[in-house]
Symmetry: C2
Subunit: 221 residues, 2 copies
């Protein structure tokens, strides 16, 4: 596997807070980043903003063009439309490391809750839809607010990386660890992705109770 510096990191859904925040941090760490969005113009506009604040050459494109350009492709899109987007990108994503970051959550008067997913989890759905890609789950529990706040030098959270392909999970752990404070930790096989995605509902409940931007650390590792 090539060094991270030699790879292009694509962020599909890169105009939302989570995608923007990850792109910003990766660019600040010196990586080559391309943002994707449904509308190429929106991705270009966000990329221009991020290029200005980070001083790095971030580009923007349609999700399809970003998927084609990326060596490692992060999927940071809304759960609604997740499957259809990935189906449309199956060929572009073949052979690539695809990092699913999506949390299938619902909200009602009582707050957030985990949605049932036929395949078990968003990550497993991605793996089912993209049989020729190397699908990994990661970055589920990272606060977008912290990622986008440049006054926060160190993002105090571990990133649980889920997957059955050791080389791919190792690379994504290294990717998470380029952000100061963040650490990529192997979190188990892809069949255990659901609870890590769903745990975001608990963190949102924590945030409401404690007025926090909570993250997770794994102790004794």
């Amino acid at each position: 596997m090539s060094e991270l510096q030699d790879l292009t990191i694509a962020v599909l859904g890169g105009t939302g807070p989570q995608g923007r925040g990850l792109a910003r941090r990766f660019a600040r760490a010196g990586l080559t980043v391309v943002l994707g969005s449904r509308a190429a113009e929106r991705a270009e506009a966000t990329a221009a903003e991020l290029a200005e604040v980070t001083g790095r050459p971030i580009t923007g494109a349609s999700n399809a063009a970003a998927a084609a350009a990326g060596d490692v492709v992060l999927v940071v899109v809304p759960w609604d439309g997740h499957k259809e987007l990935l189906e449309s990108l199956r060929e572009a994503l073949a052979g690539k490391i695809v990092v699913d970051c999506v949390n299938p959550l619902g909200f009602d008067k009582q707050g957030p809750f985990a949605l049932k997913v036929e395949e078990g989890s968003a990550t497993q759905q991605a793996a089912a839809v993209l049989p020729e890609s190397r699908v990994v789950g990661a970055f589920h529990n990272v606060s977008a607010v912290l990622l986008e706040d440049d006054s926060i030098e160190s993002v105090d959270t571990d990133v649980l990386v889920l997957g059955d392909d050791r080389e791919a999970t190792d690379l994504v752990q290294a990717l998470a660890s380029v952000v100061p404070g963040m650490r990529g930790v192997y979190g188990g096989r892809i069949r255990n992705a659901h609870q890590v995605e769903a745990f975001t509902a608990n963190l949102i409940a924590v945030n409401r109770r404690y007025k926090a931007h909570a993250g997770v650390r794994v102790t004794d590792v």
Copy 2:
């Protein structure tokens, strides 16, 4: 709600590693503990051992007698038989705080995985079976190895406490926090218990990969 010192803490399934370990730590913190087991003699034998090492008067009894004696009743039994046990104790547990600590997990050649639970989670099953109890979920992710090792003064983990009854979750947070190093953190409503239970599968995967006894800390709280 009474002070913890005035309450009797019952630990059903108190002869297994997790139940023994929690009982040991609660007793060391000065709380009154009664162990329950299917066979009263086994509970008595384990209680006598713990009384000797902790210097505290721990008693042992059948699960039914322990449930009757406890003000706060921890359920630390195997998932197999969980529902039947609670059904048999419905009257004894009425009006009490019942803390479900059970992780419905399976194991195969690929390691641990979360089992599907009809009610959503062990905690929700307990709530369904015990409509007159105040059911809380907690202590899912605490390493029994660390709890039972007296050379470890500080158990480096948070305990996520799940429930819809604020007074009950506050009390269980306080209970978790009597153990040096441990901290009870509100983790959301009971409908979000599944992922906390299932996350134990991820921690077991972490333990295998890193040769650790992993726990969880919630950051920014």
